[in-house]
């Protein structure tokens, strides 16, 4: 009886050892899978004032959309439409010791309008938000303020953004573009005149709104240290937060008080 029991114990123990062995193999395979295919093409280039790079690789069903040059911390992006990459030489003049280019292959996507007025589905998405934050008795300024507060707190900053206002309201995340176009959709829906302002660098977007007959800046993107609601040109030009500041061509946009 005792012999039989010891045999059973040994068998169980051996099974246990086998299980550990197979679990180990399975984990190893899981870790190894990242060495299979690459989506990032890297090039070494010689620096000169004029450089063009022809992509040597192509990816089925994908096109190259972004190219970035790295020089220590400086990265410059340029969009390209096909596999021939023409680098912006003006940018390169300031980055003469650039030594690496990275291309990102992205899936081709259907072109979406940034914003369309009168779209029933967009109106529905806007109404869903507005019903919670707007009361008919509110003044224009109060409505604009409620929209500002909602956009700046309920939408989350994320490094990339959809260009579709309806999707932005749905997923509630994005970069300045998302904050700007979500604001635009909501402001338009409540009847407040507004415009999109594009910063000189092309990296920052915000809105202007017409409240009580005057135009003001309205930037709901968070992280700039202060609420920038109904600001004048003077306030915008003067404002600095860490290394962030506003740079835009004021003559292209309505005058502020």
């Amino acid at each position: 009886m005792e012999k039989k029991a010891s045999k059973v114990a040994v068998i169980i123990f051996l099974m246990f050892l086998c299980a550990i062995f197979f679990i180990g193999i399975f984990s190893f395979n899981n870790d190894g899978r990242y060495n299979q295919s690459s989506k990032v093409a890297k090039y070494n280039i010689d620096c000169a004032n004029t450089i063009s790079v022809v992509a040597k690789k192509n990816y089925d069903g994908k096109v190259f959309r972004n190219i970035s040059y790295e020089k220590t911390n400086n990265i410059v992006n340029s969009k390209v439409g096909n596999s021939t990459l023409n680098i912006d030489t003006l940018e390169l003049k300031n980055n003469l010791d650039v030594n690496k280019i990275e291309q990102t292959a992205k899936k081709k996507r259907k072109k979406v309008k940034y914003y369309s007025t009168g779209s029933a589905s967009l109106n529905k998405a806007c109404d869903k938000v507005l019903n919670k934050i707007i009361k008919p008795s509110m003044s224009q300024k109060q409505k604009a303020n409620a929209i500002y507060n909602w956009v700046s707190t309920k939408i989350r900053y994320s490094g990339s953004s959809s260009k579709d206002a309806k999707r932005i309201l749905r997923v509630r995340k994005g970069n300045c573009f998302a904050f700007c176009y979500a604001s635009k959709a909501l402001l338009t829906r409540v009847g407040i005149s507004n415009k999109v302002v594009k910063g000189n660098s092309g990296h920052h977007y915000w809105n202007m709104v017409k409240v009580n007959g005057s135009w003001y800046h309205f930037d709901a993107t968070p992280g700039w240290g202060k609420k920038r609601f109904l600001w004048t040109n003077k306030q915008m030009k003067k404002y600095k937060y860490k290394k962030l500041r506003y740079s835009y061509n004021a003559s292209k946009y309505p005058k502020t008080p």
Binding site: R156, Y157, H203, T221
Partner: protein
């Protein structure tokens, strides 16, 4: 001999228990892929060292921080980073899970029904819409992106002021 059998059975019982409870080892700011734990606010260079360089990278000038926002897309994960200009680091501010192989702090997965996931979460969501369901914790959050009531993506993120 009976003692030996008892010890072997106890060891087996303990090991199986710890294996089944592995999600509880993660916090709400972590995910686990294979043997690797990836954390919010972690330096991305530590992550690429262990996950390898099979990723696609999108870089864009940040409109919230001083520097560049980056998106590292791996097969199973999308990792967003924000720049910490003082020490030239890129820190993780969001991780999107695209695969069932990635473990979270709760036992929820891509493909689960949102109603089942809500039972597992066992708290009130901060946002509960037909397309997204977001839970907020002290310094982070978790969003389930939904398609017809089924989780298609899960994202954990830092709540940044």
């Amino acid at each position: 001999m009976k003692k030996i059998i008892t010890i072997v059975l106890c060891v087996l019982l303990l090991t199986s228990c710890s294996g089944g409870n592995k999600n509880s080892q993660l916090s709400n700011t972590e995910v686990k892929l294979g043997d690797n734990i990836i954390k919010l606010n972690q330096d991305i260079s530590d992550v690429t060292k262990v996950l390898g360089d099979d990723y696609s990278l999108e870089v864009s000038k940040s409109c919230m921080f001083d520097g560049d926002d980056k998106i590292f897309t791996y097969k199973d994960l999308i990792i967003n980073t924000y720049p910490q200009s003082e020490n030239s680091k890129d820190l993780i501010n969001a991780i999107t899970v695209k695969s069932k192989d990635v473990q979270l702090f709760k036992d929820v997965h891509i493909g689960d029904k949102i109603d089942d996931a809500k039972k597992v979460m066992d708290e009130e969501p901060a946002v509960d819409d037909e397309d997204i369901c977001t839970y907020e914790f002290e310094k982070s959050g978790m969003t389930f992106y939904l398609e017809d009531g089924t989780i298609s993506e899960i994202e954990i993120f830092l709540i940044q002021e």
